[in-house]
Symmetry: D2
Subunit: 487 residues, 4 copies
């Protein structure tokens, strides 16, 4: 946690209770007017007593507790507030989507538009095209409930997306010039770092503009939150590729199916897809190093599995074994640089190495089929579960912005919707690792080696680090989080 952050709001309660709060207009703008929440007169809401969220409702980051442990960090609960800081007619909201595709983007867009309109009577919403750089363009799209009515049934994002293109000053100028006072930004950690800087600049200029983020990553490697939207749909769709790999492997003598799934820094999709499928013999993830040669190595395991079952399915996250891939490439580089780009693909590299290994053995002919379903997974529409999740995230963001909160992302923490300060989402990216417990479950289900019996000391040292990470993780119980909401 950036303890030097001047805007961090830490509130200490009793018995170790710590609230990591999000910014609010009232932090930097004096004498703001407030308005009664329109929802109050919505007949639908009359069915519920205490509809509005209490000011001091919070959600703890840790749930599993020892008898008398401290209460730890809490986040502010999301939801509608008694008072709002905007008049409906005064709101001009915009939505922008950044980064790679992910199932559910269109649902989030749809529900921000519908939430603003149906819940708060806000009818001025525009879409920024093609990510951050769309702020520099005059070309926007007016978003109404009718325009977005069916978009949740389509994959992708109707707003288009791009990476980068972040010029804070130009973006804030554009926001100001257009009279936008609510900015909904959907994107990954890079995008949200950008959103954080935009928020800082907006605050510096003392603008009453709410900057609300909705974290997006198909990899599910965002800290704090239970899972990222689209993850469930991605795991579901990944089953197809695994199933195809299994059929291909079974159909051939010494058939090996290799499937590469998303996950640059974390193996959530690979791990959950493996657990859901039951047809996978080995799952490789970035957090757990492995080695190919020698006793206890992957190649030995492949030989053993082929001997016993006659076929095999390997799932690898795209970020798995990057150290090995890089090493290979450096060796190759000395001879020839032309093939590198392709070989950086761990799936291709692994396929190549396996073929190579068995090619040197005279009496074993293998049939290896490599499947990379990445784009086919990213492009699907979100499933029912993600549709509901996206709806609630969007509504949370809308409630938060209307209530004057800013510089926050909506996020599910221990099954509750919360507002989380940007820095908690963006700062600790590299520390997100697969939960030890879940990984143990997977290992026992695949019976694959732990790869902790390294061929030489050199490897042994490398493997120490991840173990420590896993331990650290254990202490925080954060890992279990992901099990929870996924299962």
């Amino acid at each position: 946690m950036g303890s030097g952050d001047p805007h961090m709001k830490i509130i200490h309660g009793e018995a170790g209770y710590i609230l990591e709060d999000v910014p609010h207009f009232s932090d930097y703008i004096p004498n703001l007017l407030t308005y009664p929440n329109l929802l109050r007169s919505n007949p639908a809401y009359s069915v519920v007593k205490q509809y509005f969220v209490d000011a001091d409702d919070t959600v703890p980051q840790k749930v599993v507790v020892h008898k008398s442990g401290p209460r730890g960090i809490h986040f502010r609960r999301a939801g509608p507030r008694q008072k709002v800081y905007f008049k409906s007619d005064d709101v001009l909201a915009c939505i922008v989507t950044c980064g790679g595709l992910c199932p559910g983007l269109n649902t989030v867009i749809r529900e921000i538009v519908c939430g603003l309109s149906y819940m708060y009577g806000v009818n001025k919403v525009i879409g920024i095209y093609g990510g951050y750089r769309g702020f520099y363009s005059d070309n926007t799209i007016t978003l109404t409930p009718k325009v977005v009515n069916d978009i949740h049934k389509r994959g992708g994002t109707i707003l288009g997306t791009s990476r980068g293109g972040h010029d804070t000053a130009k973006i804030v100028d554009s926001i100001h010039d257009r009279g936008i006072n609510q900015v909904y930004i959907i994107g990954g950690d890079g995008t949200l770092r950008g959103a954080s800087v935009i928020y800082e600049e907006v605050r510096r200029r003392c603008l009453k503009v709410a900057i609300a983020g909705i974290p997006k990553t198909i990899d599910n490697d965002i800290p704090v939150i239970d899972r990222s939207f689209g993850f469930d749909s991605a795991v579901e769709e990944a089953q197809r590729a695994i199933n195809a790999a299994h059929v291909e492997a079974e159909g051939a003598e010494n058939g090996i199916g290799v499937v590469k799934l998303m996950g640059r820094y974390s193996g959530f999709i690979a791990m959950y897809a493996t657990l859901a499928s039951r047809d996978v013999d080995c799952c490789l993830i970035p957090e757990s190093p492995f080695y190919l040669e020698g006793k206890g190595g992957l190649l030995e395991f492949i030989e053993k599995t082929l001997e016993e079952n006659g076929h095999m399915v390997i799932v690898t996250a795209e970020g798995a074994g990057q150290d090995l891939v890089t090493e290979s490439m450096q060796v190759m580089n000395q001879k020839d640089a032309s093939g590198n780009k392709l070989l950086q693909d761990v799936g291709l590299w692994l396929s190549h190495r396996i073929k190579d290994h068995f090619g040197r053995k005279k009496n074993t002919v293998i049939n290896l089929k490599y499947i990379d379903p990445t784009y086919m997974i990213r492009a699907i529409p979100s499933n029912a579960s993600d549709n509901v999740y996206c709806t609630l995230l969007a509504q949370s963001a809308v409630h938060g912005a209307m209530a004057g909160y800013t510089g926050f992302t909506a996020g599910l923490v221990n099954g509750r919707h919360t507002y989380i300060p940007f820095n908690r989402i963006t700062e600790s990216h590299n520390q997100v690792v697969i939960t030890d417990r879940m990984w143990a479950r997977l290992l026992s289900s695949t019976n694959q080696p732990s790869f902790l019996n390294p061929k030489d000391d050199n490897v042994a040292k490398k493997t120490e680090l991840p173990i420590q990470l896993l331990d650290g993780q254990k202490d925080e119980h954060q890992s279990e989080n992901h099990i929870a909401t996924k299962s």
Copy 2:
């Protein structure tokens, strides 16, 4: 809570911490031998420090807290223990499935078998055919990892199922005579009440037989736990029916699509399917009474919607409006008893009433299509998310039984796997109602009436009860639970 239950284990900790514990062999059998957990030597588990669950790890039922509220009820955390109370070779486990079909039954069966075998070296597992009454039959099936290898890809249950057939003495005799010492029972609240009685009888006879339950209901109306397995798959599949109703409604003049979904006492599937689909104009659930005629009634809302949009989709849980259906039937009964059975179907009844209403109006011809996808939903294989969930439930149950716990169900509480005493699952069935907050979200998304503006005093009184239930619910924050893990 049945305070008179002599076996209830309540442990009071600091600051209001209450542990509702589950029974253990050591509660009624003295001088038991224990054995080191085999998992200790499983190389896979060496990747994780502190793999075994601490004796005092607990999970709170409430997560959202006020600054200094009490800590409330906790449950024992599920997972592998340092010591087990069975030698692998001594275990003879059996599995039985009871009640209606639900996606995921086969996955649970598969993972109990594979979990026992791969994690604990237990290779004697038998399947009881056709529910409880299968205990009286000699006909069982030997379950091995090979036998169950592919069953998770099929709907239904390979063991068959039935309702009722519960004769405690005969069942415990059968268990004893066969030498069974672990009984895994998968079923709904009736089934688990049976399991509870079996456990009591086993305990009375001082048998070292673990009775472990896995709660099953496609309706998701089990108290305490976050969601029941198969629910996610059911909501996903329900989208098909809603989509068909929408297409049919759109294709015709004044087209009305009516879809009946499961949910006798609770409308979870109807509610989530509605939220996920976005094509539904009105959702009716058992927890929220409605009325047809008069101002603010359903028929008025239908008229209004047809006038505005030209078509309409209504989703009703099977238990919605049962008071109205019953009332109708009584009136009809006086004339003619033959048609009752069919009219008890709220979907048919509603369709009939709507047609009747517009039939009396000269100038509006409606086209109503009624879809009942119940069996098509129940029979699907579980989706990826439910597959992972079923796996973890099964593994939890296996860990618990091996560790000497009995008289418990495995269950997810606030995203953590726990052991819950039977009585908590079975006793409070009728109090399970839809969460107020989630229902409010739905109401604002469909814009349907709250039906709280009753046509006469008589109705007004009826509606009071549910409101109170909703309030009570709110106090416990239990409702939010369901949002959490679903979204």
Copy 3:
């Protein structure tokens, strides 16, 4: 064939060759101008020599031949002609969809619009809303390639549909008043009878208006043509219901799954779905009468199957056993008229009779589940195969209308696209029966009784008729047609 039809064009060639031709503007309008076909200058078409269809290309109705049999009836081959009878700018086309939903309606609409625009430069196309009665309304929709771009991915019809509403004079007035000169009518045999009358009136008034039909029936019971569009998609989707019935039946003791599929006068969908699924034990179709009681009856077969397999799946076309259902109803009528409407549903009736039968037997408890997936099947989008088929049908119709043909439907005959006079499609509806050979294949695959061993003479007489029909069918070899193109 209505030999009295004054407009029937029969051309006799050599060796028994008979061409049943379709009308053409030149039949009743003198001195028409023609124009070179725009496609001539389409660079795409330069790849093909002899792109335009020869004036004397014909397609025989019979394909299987004996060594020296006659050549029989032929139809005019569909496709682009050298000359067209409209200038692109002069064309104002309209499209109307009538009758029940069927997968592919939107694809046909899309491809008429795109075909007219991309192939012939015709850009004035309007959609008539809600079937024939839409002609009386001022409310139409302008159809452009952009408007229809994505509609083939949705089920239903964007134009809406209805039954009846046919007032020939008013419709032709409307066509004339709006200046429409190409009318594309998509519908079943009732609709095409209407189209035929419209064509007669248009001809009587000497209007240069092309009336082109595209036959639609999900039942596939249109004479002459190989299969109707949407049929393939329907059979595919029907598998879901059968699969669910199978899972439900397998999961219960003496489980019986009953599935009702579309098919009022013919059992194509039931038959093909049964052949595709392999989980069906008995298939009932309108063309093949059956009886319940006594030796060789359905109930005996059910008893036998339950005894051998423990479960059973029955598929029934909606029109199967209507004589029995009607008979039952008449008996019931004497007592009570209230339930009739529901009991006309053969699926409900059959379920009732089976339950009744086993209810009278003390020692057999059955679990019967009835599934009616009709609306869920009708509402799906068309699959890939139907998409291609709809595209070619639409393009055929467009080529035909541009070439001056009228009073025709597009249709696939022996795998070739042809133009067929209306009367051939509409007149012989009731003679369409399931092919003997295909039905024999099904019988041998399900091992169900032939129901030709009737319980009494009365039934025997009833069964004679269908056998004769089958024989007659055999002589024409028409039946095989359907096998062909489906398989």
Copy 4:
């Protein structure tokens, strides 16, 4: 046609009628006993008069006819015969699958086993593992209706498959030694060439062993027959990849989606998938050469499409542009041989060239996503339509073998099931080209260039050949065939 083939049976009928017949035991074995067909006593078959196929029923290869053209080539109609040449108990059948995976393999296996058992009382069927080389292994599997009961719901082949491994003498020895007298061989043209040689050797040895083939190729490039099994399923599944490419392309600035589909020598899958999808802007197939640079080239078309629409989807058959790819590789070879293997993939090559082209242009940044769904398509289970088709093919083969035919493949010709001599299936492989008419339909639907405006004379010469092939094709009308059964 190999006129020198001593076993070719050509029978000349009246009016130019030519029957290309298949071999029969009676051609080379004297004094064979025959038996009445068991099906005669099958009650199911009593519903049909003339159930058995007439000896002189034939099916013409050409359907579209001019008024007085010759009748051309015919094939023998498939189906059950009055007499069979095997006693049920004497039959020992074997099944072998060779070559790549294709949807429907398991259905064909299932239906051969069930057809032999249910129709002919044959209960000795074995499966040869892993293609032709399985004949040398002792390891076989006994196939019964129970064993194969559910296999049609799984992709792949339960028998495994391989390429090559053909040693005629050893295979025939193995057949003879095991006492096998019916051999069912499922495979592509290489496999069937092998089957043809096996038949010749069997005949040389005067063995009463029926050699029956079922042609398999997912590419659909088998001459004579309407379509190959699995093709329909493959086109359906290909839609997913195209849809993903479309979503990815739409979501990015200048997004280009490239999808490679199967089709080494013919572009059927690419063409039909393009026609079914409607989201494709350019389809490249082996039969139609293209060029990249210059006026009318592919790169120019891409530039134009991006400018107009902002995104683009390209589908390429794997065999498209192989001359260009080879040329590129030769150039590269001179510098560096390492990357060749990967670049032979036309999809990768094309993606590389497109990126390269736009990389040289300063002001256009493109986002290209390449999808290769090959293995995901091959591994799916067959859809309903293919299930029915596979069933009929298998039953045809069984009827033929029982009736004493040998050296034949089952095949659908103009929608009728026939027996075709091996040489017709295998000899003319390279002449199979996409139908001109269908290709023209595609060109007009995508509006892509015809690539007939070559950049230089050199290319012009190359393109001449295919045009001629297309013309030749046209004369035979064979092309239309494929349209027929697909649409």
